[in-house]
């Protein structure tokens, strides 16, 4: 916030402040005029931001300050140069092949990761410090050796082809792979930097990372797939023996060239083999693969167990069903038996009833003195009446017998008995089961 420092002094207060609080209101502000602000400039944009988000000044200050603080953190640290040690300063510029160009420019912690912009800035910084004219002015020593080193480093690092050649053989950027015996708990911390550094030679970008124990199987497989099919741009021209450039000895020149070519090819093959071994080592040490296998096995086992459980369940179900069926059948049979017994009983009861009814009929005829008017009935009458009653009995079924027997029950007068019997005979005649003539007495 902008604070204007003025030289003015404020009014002295009256000795007696008449109001209770330290602040006393007298008037309101005058009515404002409404005008159109020009939507232009950083301060307007800040105003618009406050107004649109309904922030007060202090809120907005805080939010903007927080954002700016974040930006500062994100930004590249401005100071990238490193001081050089005495060994570096005393280097012979002619021996540039063995010089660490990144260290000369003071960016050895960036190495192959250094951007062109960083290299440019670092170079500028070194030049400002080591320019021979400056040295001459300061100490009178006319030594521009280190300056030559700087220029050589710059020449190599700013030329994309030369920089690749140098990066190819820049062993300081290599990270030693952990030995097979190393029993570190965290193999990821050991291997990730190795592959990050090897990945710099990849033609394909992005390079998959070694990852950590949370990597999925697909990621890990992709990783090994990538590294077993690694496409490297690494070249070894930088280590070439100098080709004599005098025109006199052409054979010698060609010989050296051939030798260089062979050496390059050899180194390339060695490098490929080396990388392969590194990947093999990594694969051997990679506990994730074991984990994945185990998981797979577990998965398979789980499937098997599930299958077996399913089979067992099915078998149990079948058994249960069979038991239920058997039980049902048994019950049915029992029911059938019971009903049969009942029927027999009913039948017997009916038979008994019929017997009883027949007896009633016969008895009724006897009670009615065989329908003979007075005195003892002659035997032929008795025989005929009994024959008629027997006939009627045979012609009537059990129910009819029952009805007739009930009608007869309690009757003593012979005419009434006769009427009932005649009635039932007529009923059976009308049904057509007997003929009138069959009855000898009762119908007369």
């Amino acid at each position: 916030m902008n604070v204007v420092a003025t030289k003015h002094s404020l009014l002295p207060a009256e000795p007696e402040w008449p109001h209770e609080s330290g602040f006393h209101i007298l008037e309101h502000l005058s009515e404002p005029t409404h005008r159109n602000l020009e939507p232009v400039g950083p301060h307007y944009l800040a105003h618009a931001r406050r107004k649109r988000h309904h922030r007060t000044f202090s809120e907005d200050d805080r939010i903007v300050a927080a954002q700016q603080a974040k930006n500062v953190e994100d930004a590249d640290p401005g100071e990238i140069s490193e001081p050089e040690d005495a060994m570096l300063l005393s280097r012979d510029p002619k021996d540039w092949k063995n010089q660490d160009h990144y260290a000369v420019l003071g960016i050895s912690k960036y190495r192959w990761k250094a951007t062109d912009e960083q290299i440019k800035r670092a170079h500028r910084k070194k030049v400002l410090k080591h320019h021979p004219d400056k040295k001459a002015a300061a100490g009178g020593v006319d030594d521009d050796n280190f300056f030559k080193c700087i220029q050589k480093a710059m020449e190599i690092l700013t030329d994309p082809v030369k920089r690749r050649q140098y990066d190819s053989v820049d062993e300081s950027a290599d990270v030693e792979p952990p030995s097979r015996k190393s029993k570190a708990k965290n193999i990821y911390r050991l291997w990730n930097p190795v592959f990050d550094s090897e990945g710099r030679f990849s033609k394909k970008k992005p390079v998959p990372r070694f990852g950590d124990d949370k990597s999925t199987k697909a990621e890990v497989e992709e990783f090994y797939n990538f590294w077993y099919n690694f496409d490297s741009w690494r070249t070894f021209e930088y280590l070439d023996e100098d080709v004599p450039d005098d025109n006199e000895n052409r054979d010698q020149k060609r010989h050296v060239e051939r030798k260089n070519k062979a050496a390059r090819a050899k180194r390339k093959t060695e490098d490929t083999a080396r990388l392969r071994k590194v990947v093999d080592d990594a694969l051997a040490m990679d506990v994730r693969l074991q984990k994945f296998r185990q998981e797979e096995r577990l998965q398979k086992d789980a499937k098997k167990i599930a299958r077996e459980a399913e089979e067992k369940r099915l078998a149990e179900e079948a058994k249960k069903k069979a038991e239920e069926d058997a039980k049902k059948k048994e019950e049915e049979e029992a029911a059938l038996k019971a009903s049969k017994a009942d029927a027999k009983k009913v039948k017997e009861a009916a038979k008994n009833a019929a017997k009883k009814n027949k007896r009633v009929l016969r008895k009724s005829a006897e009670d009615a003195n065989y329908f003979h008017a007075d005195g003892a009935a002659p035997p032929d009458v008795i025989t005929n009446v009994l024959a008629d009653v027997e006939l009627l009995i045979t012609k009537l079924d059990n129910e009819e017998l029952d009805v007739v027997a009930k009608k007869l029950a309690g009757l003593k007068v012979s005419d009434e008995i006769k009427a009932v019997l005649v009635d039932s005979i007529r009923g059976s005649v009308s049904k057509g089961s007997t003929a009138d003539g069959d009855f000898k007495i009762l119908l007369k």
């Binding site: 902008n2 204007v4 207060a13 301060h43 007060t56």
Partner: protein
């Protein structure tokens, strides 16, 4: 090797689309606006398109065709944009392709191809082609395609005209992020140059003397926010009229020698006018200039010289007109000339030294006049709008279209502005006891958009003890009662202060000079036990509903006093 990609940034430019000349500017990564030269090296690219043979010429090349092929050369078309044929003033286009009536407004009938039927080109079409050329120049210069632009237009451009301009630009694939007003862009160009993140409050008059017209605007700049208070236009005053002065002058000279009037022949006139323009420009830089035209009229060559004094005398009437325009716009804003803290001269004709000195004479010496002739640090007046546009473009480059739309919506732009200055009564440093009570330190000047907040520190009291903070609404001093002597004294006093304290900010001097009187006391607060020499920090915050909040404390001390005056509503 290092194929790490930079975060994709939008390439945006500012375009000053003028009736006579256009310019394009971009903002460099370190935040400085720079004007781009086109392929021919021109930073002021004539808004002219010419169709000769099968070729389309643009800029300076097209302008030179005004002499030979006036009928197929389209110039001065900007002000026709979006207007109906009945509303335009075709005077300026008299010596180029003539505007004709068209369904969409105004058009030009131009033979685009050799021997072909003349085709009808609407003003929008011409504008599209012109902007396309500007876009190409910018893309060539920056080496990457242009994603968007901010275009400046005069304040009297209607909404419809702005919309048509925006569409015309879109037609050639250049998205218009925002259309801003020329005087505001010029002011932004100057404000952005100041290093401070809190620009001083001031009232600025932007005088834009263009090729064919002159526009004046009074703008209140409060805490870096701009409010247009008044505008005034003169459509018959501009560089062209200054050219005509020279044309008349040289014609008379030519007649004297050769008995022929070059103004009678259109071609001779065009030739003479073109050369007079160049001579006029030279006169702004050196005290005398030559003119030489081969075969001007009647087969006679013409060579002559003119000095600046002669030119100033000849153009006195025009300078008077400019002064009149300035006076009228200040009056329209309801202000006095002494209320203007700064005058910004924009437009090509502002290079004329006499104009700048006339303006400087008009205003009190405390008013800064930003023109090359009066201030060696002044920006190039021709480039102001383009620079302002470029700055604005870089500010909103990362915004979404919706964000820009919302930020420029009237709901956000229309804001209550303070009717009267708000300040605190101070003890007069001169020790002039009689007037001491009347002095007001202005925190928030009139026309400050609210919500606004200002903070200042004061020397408590001379003796120590309780301090009274009296918040007042002030009224501006009347100029007549300020004797010139007092101004002088103050300047001297200020120099002393500067010696004492180098950190003194610019704001101080203006405030000291502005003697304002108490009109209405709003509130009083008392701050207890301020020891001698202790500083008191006072913050006034006026919210959007005119609620005034005072926060006062002793610097480095605890506690303090706080109070709120609620708004009326």
């Amino acid at each position: 090797m290092s194929d790490t990609e930079e975060p994709q940034q939008k390439t945006v430019i500012g375009i000053a689309f003028g009736n006579s000349n256009s310019s394009i500017a971009f903002t460099s990564p370190d935040g400085k606006a720079e004007v781009i030269a086109n392929e021919e090296g021109d930073r002021q690219i004539p808004s002219v398109l010419s169709y000769v043979g099968d070729e389309e010429y643009h800029g300076a090349q097209a302008k030179s065709h005004l002499v030979r092929n006036p009928k197929t050369t389209v110039a001065y078309f900007r002000d026709f944009l979006g207007k109906s044929f009945a509303d335009i003033d075709p005077t300026n286009a008299h010596s180029s392709a003539h505007p004709i009536q068209h369904d969409t407004g105004v058009a030009f009938s131009v033979e685009e191809k050799e021997g072909a039927e003349p085709s009808t080109l609407t003003v929008s079409e011409i504008t599209t082609r012109h902007i396309k050329r500007l876009q190409e120049s910018a893309a060539d210069f920056l080496g990457k395609p242009i994603d968007g632009c901010v275009i400046t237009v005069p304040t009297d451009f209607s909404d419809a005209q702005r919309r048509i301009l925006s569409e015309a630009s879109k037609a050639c694939g250049l998205e218009v992020l925002q259309i801003i007003q020329e005087p505001v862009a010029s002011l932004l160009a100057y404000t952005a140059r100041e290093d401070t993140s809190h620009p001083a409050d001031k009232t600025v008059l932007v005088l834009d003397i263009g090729g064919t017209r002159t526009d004046a605007a009074v703008i209140a700049s409060r805490g870096g926010m701009f409010t247009l208070l008044a505008t005034q236009h003169d459509y018959e005053l501009g560089g062209r009229q200054f050219d005509d002065v020279l044309v008349d002058h040289f014609s008379k000279e030519f007649i004297k020698k050769h008995k022929t009037d070059p103004r009678e022949n259109e071609r001779s006139l065009a030739k003479l006018r073109l050369e007079c323009e160049a001579t006029k420009k030279t006169l702004s830089l050196s005290t005398s200039a030559q003119i030489s035209i081969e075969s001007l009229a009647g087969g006679f060559d013409f060579h002559s010289t003119v000095n600046r004094l002669r030119f100033d005398l000849l153009s006195k009437k025009l300078a008077d007109q400019v002064v009149g325009l300035v006076e009228s716009v200040v009056k329209k804003a309801g202000m006095d000339l002494s209320d203007i803290n700064e005058v910004i001269l924009a437009g090509g004709s502002s290079h004329i030294p006499k104009l700048a000195s006339r303006i400087q004479q008009l205003f009190p010496s405390t008013t800064a006049v930003q023109a090359p002739a009066t201030n060696p640090n002044a920006l190039n007046p021709s480039e102001l709008s383009a620079r302002g546009a470029a700055i604005q473009a870089s500010l909103i480059a990362e915004f979404e279209a919706e964000d820009i739309e919302q930020s420029t919506h009237p709901a956000v732009t229309v804001t209550p502005h303070l009717a009267k200055p708000i300040g605190v009564v101070i003890h007069s440093p001169e020790g002039d006891e009689g007037k001491a009570e009347d002095k007001v330190y202005v925190f928030l000047d009139a026309e400050t958009a609210v919500p606004a907040r200002r903070t200042a520190t004061f020397v408590g009291t001379n003796v120590g003890g309780d301090v009274l903070i009296r918040i007042v609404e002030a009224k501006k001093e009347s100029v007549d009662i300020t004797p010139p002597k007092e101004v002088k004294e103050k300047v001297a006093d200020e120099d002393d202060e500067d010696d004492d304290d180098d950190d003194e900010e610019e704001e101080d001097e203006k405030i000291i000079k502005r003697v304002t009187e108490v009109e209405k006391v709003i509130a009083e607060a008392v701050l207890k036990d301020v020891k001698k020499g202790q500083k008191v920090e006072v913050m006034l915050n006026v919210a959007g509903d005119l609620t005034l909040t005072l926060t006062a404390r002793v610097v480095g001390g605890k506690g303090g006093v706080r109070g709120t005056v609620p708004g009326r509503a």
